[in-house]
Amino acid sequence: MGGFDTRGRFHIHWGAAETYAERREESALRRSGRPVPDSAYSHFEAIDTTAVDEILARLDYDHKQMLAILEAVQAIYGYLPVAAIKRLSQVSGAPYALIYGTATYYRQFHFEKPGRTVAVCRCTACVLAGAGRVARSLAKELGTEIGRRPATTGGVALESVPAHIRGAASPLVTLDGQPQHVTAAGAAAWAHSLAGSGPAGGGNAGNAGTRIGNVAGGSVV
């Protein structure tokens, strides 16, 4: 039992695999001579990164403009592919983790090909009109939470509207940026038709719908 270190030297490991920063199941795979899958890179897809180089050259390889660089990269690919961030890191010299940390912080960046996005406005007028309840029933029906990445590629993502769209009625719900007519009572059914598949919560979803229907009667502002 043992493993090679980063310089290719072989070390014998005495004791449990965890002591040597290995997972037990990975250790077992490796010891038996089979390939060990790397979960972190399973989504890694090689793409043409010449566009990234052009953007970097245009913006002077300046890490102070990282937001502008990332926005330009996303404008070209539609999302931020891992290969593009790796290339950014390679060329600009900024650590991958730093760029990834920046990109995950700002809400306009995403790492998968965009699917549909439902957004709920959380301004005070909408909150008073029951936006909290709408968000809760949408989250339950879509099987996600606000800000969480969709579980499957092409799934529906739930977000919050950055600023209330002028003239739009409260509570404001948008689908891909377009205001939708969604009432607190009808939110669950609307999300159900959107998702296309069965509700995530199974039998609970029906109860949630009626409960929210009752609530909406008393909360008209």
Partner: protein, 454 residues
Amino acid sequence: MTAATILPTSARFPRLLLPATLPADPTDLSAAVEAGAFSGLRAAVEERKSTGVIKAIAESGMLGRGGPGPGRSAGVGEKWRVCAATAADQHYVVVNAYQSDPAVLTDRVLLENNPFAVLEGAAIAAFAIGASEVIVAVRVEATDTIRVLETAIAAAEEAGYLGGSVLGTGTEIHVSVKPLQGAYMLGEETVLLKGLEGKRGQPEQQPPYTMTRGLFGAPTLIHGPQTFAAVPTIINGGLAGFDETSPRAFAGTVLVQLSGAVANPGIAEVPFGATLREIVDVAGGIPSGHKLKGVLVGGPSGGILPADGLNVIFDHENLENAGAHLGSGSIVVIDQHSCVVDLAAVLTRFCADEACGKTIPCRIGLRRLAEIGARFCDGQPRGDDVTRLVDLSHDIVESALCDHERRATLALQSVVRYFRDELDAHILRNSCPAGICHPKAETLAGRSPEASHA
């Protein structure tokens, strides 16, 4: 143009930021100069010089819109003095027009209707502290604001009020507009600087204050556009006769956004020192059929004041004492159809969702606080939840890094302080007076972690 009604106010309320008669074309420089724009900059450059400007600002006693915070207690003038006294190759002036509150448009309306006042104030500040760069940070969504600002900056540079040689003196003041997006926390000053530096937005511990070490490590002066817009008036000495309307020495005016159960929602310019009742009356008061229950002051991280809280004087000190703060300048009137417990729970959840995650009291404490709030509304409230809420809020406030986490506790704390009857109805009788929430009686099963996340 951003669609928002600017409400007319009584003659007792001076209009410093948004004049009663707005110009037809706000980007028309010659009309603005005739109306007095850039005369303050001329006076600053030709007569007062740097020390005279800082002295005038300090003597006015003006406070920033964030109020007296740590390191800011001495007001705007002290901030300018410290910034000017810090030796560096480069100083920066940053106009923080990133309005995080999704419901408030006051800064956008100010920049779109009176861009030259903000630019002039920022230029005076840049001249006083020796900065050659002014950065106006705005939201990407505010496309109208960006367009107006860029037109106004180009016109002012053409006329020699900004740019390579300000008023022919050879002083450089370059103004740039920087659109930002993607995070609620960008409204906090140190987070905004991180965003401008192209980093992930997390607040920094202060001190060192931004006046000595800010953008790219250089001394940086940050104010909101409303603060900068008031500067030319102070430099021109145009505040005579204003002191009588305000019970305090000069504190200035502020733009507020009135919404909720009022007759005419909109934006109004009100002086510090007016009472909340006077301000609500500007929006036409409460329409018939609605009964006043409370007022949410300060936006998502604000506090909820009770009905008799309308007697509170609208300035930093009195609002803080009452358990609210000026915040985004949002004033929401709550009537009998809304449940304050539900509102506070939703607001706390919003603040917890928007937290950047840097510190533990914010990342975990606000999450736990939001869970307590959710239990009041639709879960199974526990008998000791109020004690838990008060203790946790106290711990969060005491160990906080930035104002976001301190003020995110205000909503639920003010419910405990002012709406105890309504809260007790949720906890003890499992009923909601407004008929919105559906709390259930506490059972052993309700203690499961799954139920507490409801």
